[in-house]
């Protein structure tokens, strides 16, 4: 991810971090990818709560959960904690 960024004259002084980490995609770390079975899922949102990376979102408009594979590191906590075993980890 090393690209030519702003020069030292343009960045904020004192080493202040000035970019949100949401611009740094950690999704390519994963080996296994969580796949949700919509029929088994009860929308309890436990996976949204437990995900260490905030990579699972609850969409109130659609009343559904959405995976954000840009940030999912494939740890498998969601699949392990799912009460109905609706999430399966598949080799990417």
């Amino acid at each position: 991810m090393t690209v030519q960024e702003k020069s030292w004259k343009e960045i904020p002084p004192a080493g202040i971090c000035w970019k949100p980490s949401t611009e740094y995609l950690t999704g390519d770390w994963k080996t296994y990818k969580p796949i949700m079975d919509s029929e088994k899922c009860t929308r309890c949102t436990l996976c949204v709560i437990f995900c260490p990376d905030g990579a699972i979102h609850w969409n109130p408009g659609k009343e559904d959960i959405e995976f954000d594979y840009d940030f999912c590191k494939g740890c498998g906590i969601c699949a392990n904690e799912c009460p109905t075993k609706a999430i399966e980890m598949k080799l990417e």
Binding site: K19, P20, S21, L25, T26, W29, C44, P52, F71, K73
Partner: protein, 320 residues
């Protein structure tokens, strides 16, 4: 003293993360879950501060920051001193009318190294001065980001790089320091222990810690797949089994009065639900050597110590 705050899982799921995605914690890091959950409990604007440690390193790799809130990084030893400075500054700015916000809460985050060992004098001093802040300890039981060195929070028998299990010693020889009890002894208004599997309990306790006038201390349990040599997908499960085996019982002490929290109270009332420590130990590679004939007696030692501390806690809570 505390407001009635009722919330559902969906309320929490909908609330925006103050600890954003894209941080570089290892896959399956429960400390990251703890950070997200604690920051879901805020009631308004906050200023956060972190001691050096895993969660500081992973969240602020230049030029990226994972904090969607004002945040200050400080050295390993002085996060509590930093939090007291922020709180004092806010107080005087409010008095002079320089800030409009009614109330800004201060939250300090530190790992077990920054609390048990290096940060304890700053913490003790800040609590003694009575500053109004919440101190969150995410306890992953060793110095994880520098390469798994033992700390005051590492339990007996755990193999780390500076207490390696081998032919001579069975992992760490000493015992885990009861830090939350030390904090209760400071006569502070609010001390609690929490585990991420019991997320509702954790969020409620974090909110209580923020609401209370004066210092509050929240000891959270944070399994670390790298350092504990455990399966990344089992991190949250381990945090449940730690409670069920009474290795990490959940309680809160309001003005020094201990009371058990629901998940541990169930075990206190029905002792047959208490699981043997063996179940907790076998999930982690750092205790692998205990399952060999040479070190098997250490498991009994750990069981005895756990039972002793559990009985002592029950007495403090007025049960038995």
């Amino acid at each position: 003293m505390f407001s009635e705050w009722k919330f559902t899982a969906k309320d929490i799921a909908e609330k925006a993360d103050l600890f954003m995605s894209g941080h570089r914690a290892c896959a399956g890091c429960a400390a990251a879950t703890v950070m997200r959950l604690v920051l879901k409990a805020v009631r308004g604007p906050i200023i956060a501060t972190s001691a050096t440690g895993c969660m500081e390193v992973v969240s602020s790799i230049y030029p990226y920051t994972s904090w969607a809130t004002p945040w200050i990084h400080t050295a390993f030893e002085n996060v509590a001193a930093n939090a007291s400075g922020i709180e004092a500054a806010l107080k005087i700015l409010k008095k002079k009318g320089r800030i409009k916000q009614q109330r800004i809460d201060v939250i300090a985050f530190a790992g077990d190294g920054g609390t048990y060992d290096i940060g304890i004098q700053a913490l003790s001093g800040a609590v003694e001065r009575g500053h109004d802040f919440l101190y969150v300890l995410y306890d992953n039981e060793a110095y994880m980001n520098t390469g798994i060195q033992r700390s005051g929070g590492t339990p007996h028998g755990a193999s780390t790089t500076t207490s390696p299990a081998g032919t001579v010693i069975p992992g760490k020889v000493q015992y885990k320091k009861p830090i939350a009890d030390i904090m209760v002894a400071h006569d502070m208004p609010y001390v609690a222990t929490a585990s991420p599997h019991y997320w509702r309990d954790l969020i409620t306790k974090a909110r209580k810690g923020i609401e209370v006038d004066g210092p509050a201390f929240l000891h959270t349990f944070a399994p670390c797949p790298r350092g504990w040599r455990s399966d990344p997908s089992k991190s949250i499960e381990i945090s449940r089994i730690a409670v069920e085996t009474c290795i990490f019982p959940l309680w809160e002490a309001i003005n020094g009065e201990y009371q058990l929290s629901a998940p541990s109270k169930v075990i206190a009332l029905r002792p047959e639900r208490k699981k043997p420590v063996r179940e907790y130990l076998k999930m982690q590679g750092r205790f692998r050597h205990l399952f060999t004939p040479k070190f098997e007696k250490i498991i009994d030692e750990i069981q005895q110590l756990t039972d002793k501390r559990w009985q002592r806690l029950l007495k403090k809570c007025g049960i038995v």
